[in-house]
Point group: C2
Chain length 333, copies 2
Amino acid sequence: MSLDYPSVKPHDRLQAALAEDLDAVGAMIRDRMASEHAPRIPEVTAHLVEAGGKRLRPMLTLAAARLCRYDGPYHVHLAATVEFIHTATLLHDDVVDGSEQRRGRPAANLLWDNKSSVLVGDYLFARSFQLMTETGRLDVLKVLSNASAVIAEGEVLQLTAAQNLSTTEEIYLQVVRGKTAALFSAATKVGGMIADAPAEVVQALYTYGDALGVSFQIADDILDFAGDATKTGKNVGDDFRERKLTLPLIKAIAAGGDVDREFWVRTIEKGKQRDGDLEQALHLLDQHDALDRAREDALAWSDVAKQALRSAPKGDLTDMLHDLADYVVSRLN
Amino acid sequence: MSLDYPSVKPHDRLQAALAEDLDAVGAMIRDRMASEHAPRIPEVTAHLVEAGGKRLRPMLTLAAARLCRYDGPYHVHLAATVEFIHTATLLHDDVVDGSEQRRGRPAANLLWDNKSSVLVGDYLFARSFQLMTETGRLDVLKVLSNASAVIAEGEVLQLTAAQNLSTTEEIYLQVVRGKTAALFSAATKVGGMIADAPAEVVQALYTYGDALGVSFQIADDILDFAGDATKTGKNVGDDFRERKLTLPLIKAIAAGGDVDREFWVRTIEKGKQRDGDLEQALHLLDQHDALDRAREDALAWSDVAKQALRSAPKGDLTDMLHDLADYVVSRLN
């Protein structure tokens, strides 16, 4: 985190700088989530879309296009596409995880049912591809269909890696790419592509989005153990209770001896948790410096993101993206 | 059913005529369902794909392309795309319906879990769009993304229309388009498009696929009440027990008086079914000629399909598609 870090969050500065574009994205989302025959579709979608969310992903697309001096209309289609894909994955995730809350409201799968969440997610996914075809850009379709495949692959991998103590940092990174980084990097990349930016700029935007996403997710996984519940809105230890092998746990397990291992086998692999186990897990994380070492990784990825921006055109939006890479890890201070 | 109806089923004749292309489609499906990181994906997909299924949809694409004298490689991509979309919807349908069997095997959601079915379906859907981009044809992407949206919309509509006695024949048709006809018509249309067939031929192929799909689904819904369980592999009355408002029921309900209505409210709307209700439903269907009238509709759609083929190039494959339209309703004799 740089010393001259401005007091207004970079996310809010991006929102202000992109206000007009974001309004256009909002209008397009409302227009395209409509369904002539099935009113259930806009009901479910609106429940999620209107709950807000940070609109981070569409902002990345808009910022990337604008900092490359794009002045056509299609960055709006692509930003709406990215938000539709994100919303579709949230709907399906909530079914997969059996979630009860999303964005501070009851999850759609509880308000309606799992069926609606699955099918409305499918509808939004199809709609996102319709939107993309309107841009007339096959190269963009390729990037976003690849990202969609990586997302689904990462989720399946997470499913099979859960509770598996032999999960490596490499597998964790694959899962994180699927959960977060694949859509971040596709979002920034297609912004550059629609602006016909030079190949090295497009590559830089991709690398920025990918590294930002990885950094963001590692920070999230650290905060699950070390966060202030009043700020994160999550309970400390949720991932431990759900037996998810996130980076801090993977580091602690790898560093621990046989006695530790018995504890992890019982609590994570077999899921036989009892009172005091979270405290013991936190103790082991501390003993092996696992949270600090994960924090170093998050900072390193944030640096990769910032470095990548050196190959992008200079300007206010580029500065805000730079500060955003600082901001996602500043939560760890 | 024409008098000179050949003894070999048109489906089997198509399969023989397209054998080489179908092998290429099979190879492409096996290749593209692979996942570098998540072996669960090909496991689940193979369970479904290798159980066979009739491969009707990819055959429609191959036949349409070939009868338009296409000699490029991309009809194989499109046929594999269509099969992937179909497989993805089957995986999601089984979650939505809580199915226990699919293609004579335990449904994937039981062998693995609902989570895997949702996520592997998403993966196949993304893969299908990747495959399409390889054809370099945005117009084809538009048709298949539209079809995907109609499919999801139709499924949501079926969800909300279920148990609703005010479901009209118009809504039923929308549901049928989503369940069956949208992918049939997209399958035949993109076959013509990839061959650069004239617009009126592409339209004829679309109309054929749509009408074939509607006819096929109406026939299925009739057989649910009138079929021979040993041939259909389904129990008579499944739709009635699941309170699905299919065409025969919609016709019987519309024709019935207030006394009938009490019966339908209790059995369909409230779902309070007891012994003898299926027999009473069959009696009411008979009293109002509902099965015969639905059969007339199926025959009329089959005629629409055959008429459409008059605008298509003549040849053996066109003849087989013609006979296929007869065959789907011949099951009702």
